[in-house]
Amino acid sequence: MHVELKDITKTFGTLRANDSLTLSFAEGRIYALLGENGAGKSTLMKILSGYQPPDSGTIFIDGRAVTFQTPADALQCGIGMLHQDPLDVPNLTVLDNFMLGRREGLLPKRKAARQALTAHATRLGFEIDPFRYVDSLTIGERQQLEIVRLLSLGARLLILDEPTTGISAEQKHMLFSALKRLAAEEGMTVILVSHKLEDVAALCQEVYVLRGGKLVGHRHMPTPIDELVTLMFGQSLPRPTRGAHNLGAEILRAESVSLTARRLTVRDLSLSVRSGEVIGLAGLDGSGQSDFLRACAGLQPLNGGRILIAGVPIHGKGYAELLRMGVAYAPSGRLEEGLVDGLTLSEHFALTTNNGLWINWRAANALAARQIARYNIRGAPHSPIQTLSGGNQQRTLIALLPENLRLLLLEDPTRGLDVESTAWVWQQLLARRDQGAAILFTSPDLDEIVTYSDRVLVFCEGRATLVEDLDDSARNPAERLGELIGGKRT
């Protein structure tokens, strides 16, 4: 199967995520799609796998133009995508998950499915027990299940989005050899989306490099790593140096905290944060870092231990109360939990000013106008919040944070933002830090964590490990964190 993307363009608001991209993927070859965060890799792969349509441009399969309404359409044409966080149903068995999405009428044929599952798995050298529950599998095993499922549904082109984050070295080796065999023996086309150059060097035959939504390079491997880095970043970026700032009194203290995250329980977490400090929370999605943030905001109960804000235990206090104590939480889902779809900017500002029975609309409008100017928000006081772009919604969320905060809890504060907005957001946050606020934030982007954190708390398999000496080590800090996240001890 030969797949061509021609002149694919996709814009989000003013951001050109994909700018007239033309790429070609031949049968039986393994490609890498390289680029830093926000380069447009995910957007392009979502278009190719049917999750979103392009604004313009065409996808050709063996010379025939195709359009996908849904991921199922793409899969019917043989294009399957393996997501970074595998899209499976955790409380079903492996076999049930495998059977999801098969079109075989009312009564599924469990026995035939089990045989197909085992056959595909054996062919790839995977060992998967059909009757185990998915939530007891490791990320690596869930990936294997997903690959087997996509193959059985007829995938001829596999897209893998950052597949080596969070799997063991052995699983990575197994994955890579299976992919190579699929390509060589069965003509499978493989696209690896990654920013890990060693993975690209180990697996891929050709490399496409994206930067700022544009295709900036197409190379055949082997290509020197330096050349790829230069293509990805334009020029090698120096790591920003952190200005010295003073640490104040202890703001947050966690004492042997135990809490339940989506898939696991985090135990025995202890941490002390002083004013003026920035702590990055790293870990795979769902390892407990977001849950810890929510617990600090009084939004999630603890199983054990306690959390103190400026020496006061927060047990039994709601978020509204903590907010008055100078603690603010900003979730990553802006319109899901943070802003109210359907209310205007003025109404949002009116909600956050707490005084009096009647709303002083003139004052609320004035406050909105002032904050719009100060935070450079593209919108008017009477604009409904959902009409703003993601970047402007994020600006609004930050503009809504009260003054004189002591502790800021931020879940992925730059999610979906372009480079400029990201820089702006951090400028605002660091200004808060310089005024004496402590910041805890999560991010899936290790570079962001390394850049802005004074210390990093790494969440992995129910443990939280504090990394204090980011700069001291001779090794690349992001790489070190990546290994900790993946469960490798250093």
Partner: protein, 359 residues
């Protein structure tokens, strides 16, 4: 979209829905060999043709208006207060606690006589608020959806009512109390069945709710909770506290409506005292799409239905005589048609927007 275009769209939707509901009624009547046009004329005469008919419509509208006003608060906060029926019933029961003890002659009570009515109304509001407060506590502390809590409490309130009128409060052969003394009732005009005081109370209650939704922090917080409770909480709104008060105020207003039923409409406590006015309030708020400004005219419109269809039911002309239940069919069909019309409009708007963005 401009305000005028929006209004035009709303009126158009409502007109289409009304036509659809009327067509359905006409079809039902034709299938029963009745004359729809003659019946419609008879209905209009019966509902708004005479001063006394108009007074009946207004008085029938008052308890519905009270329920609808309360439900505006709960619907704004995204709560389905189905328990409103039980809250009406408890209001009626609590008002009866005082009303049944008032003697026919209170001439020697002096100034105390002036306190009878306020005491009845306050107690009724307390009864409704208590019942709604239970729904709120079940939801907030017990995590029980307000619909389930409300349905359960509706059943309980009906059974409390039945056990009272069959037991200790029963007077005579039927399960009901004795007629209340005039001093216990809402004062009414001699010639028309009209109570200016009742009208004033209902309008003031509605105006207070209207202004609360428009200009107060409470109203804005309820709107934020209704649209996205999680986000509201992150913005510092005390979600649970606001939910509690929205339900309790709604319950108090429903209790007041229950008091209207015993102190004006029926003049005694009897089974099915609410007569479904709580649910009628739900229908009204749904019909208006939770827009307070529309509640008053829609309530008046809805109130013509039971009055008019009662006239049809009691008509001697067999070409138009039909059971009053048809009125309920009409109301429900209208609500469904309006909801469907709203859905169609939203879909058309989305399509128009998409086309505007891509072309």
């Amino acid at each position: 979209m401009s305000q005028a275009a929006k209004l035009r769209g709303t009126l158009l939707t409502f007109g289409a829905a009304l036509s659809a509901a009327l067509a359905l009624i006409a079809l039902i009547m034709l299938s029963l060999d009745k004359a729809p046009l003659a019946a419609a004329q008879r209905f209009l005469e019966g509902a708004i043709g005479t001063p006394s008919a108009r007074a009946d419509v207004i008085m029938a509208a008052l308890p519905m208006l009270l329920c609808a006003a309360g439900l505006l608060l709960t619907f704004t906060a995204g709560l389905w207060n189905i328990g409103v029926e039980g809250q009406v019933t408890m209001g009626a029961i609590f008002a009866t606690i005082i009303a049944r003890t008032i003697p026919r002659d209170v001439s020697d009570w002096g100034a105390l006589a002036a306190l009878i009515l306020p005491a009845e109304l306050l107690l009724a509001m307390l009864g409704g608020a208590l019942w709604a407060g239970l729904v709120a506590l079940l939801k907030i502390r017990g995590g029980i959806n307000e619909i389930f809590g409300g349905v359960a409490l509706n059943f309980i309130s009906v059974n409390i009512l039945l056990s009272l009128v069959n037991g200790p409060w029963r007077v005579g052969t039927f399960p009901q109390t004795a007629p209340f003394a005039p001093a216990a009732l809402l004062p009414r005009q001699a010639d028309l069945r009209l109570s200016p005081l009742g009208i004033a109370i209902a309008l003031i209650a509605f105006a207070v709710v209207f202004m609360a939704l428009r200009g107060t922090r409470f109203g804005l917080q309820l709107r934020a909770i209704g649209r996205n409770a999680k986000s509201a909480g992150i913005l510092g709104v005390r979600v649970e506290r606001n939910i509690f008060w929205a339900l309790v105020v709604c319950g108090a207003l429903a209790g007041l409506a229950g008091a209207f039923q015993v102190l004006f409409t029926r003049g005694r406590l009897l089974p099915n005292i609410s007569g479904g006015i709580g649910f009628m309030g739900v229908l009204i708020v749904l019909l208006t799409g939770v827009r307070a400004a529309w509640v008053l005219p829609v309530t008046l419109f809805i109130a013509t239905v039971p009055i008019g269809s009662l006239k049809l039911a009691t008509s001697l002309d067999s070409a138009v005589q039909i059971d009053a239940a048809l009125g309920n069919v009409f109301q429900s069909a209208l609500v469904l048609a309006v909801l469907i019309g709203g859905g169609i409009r939203a879909r058309l708007a989305a399509r128009r927007k998409e086309r505007a963005e891509h072309g």
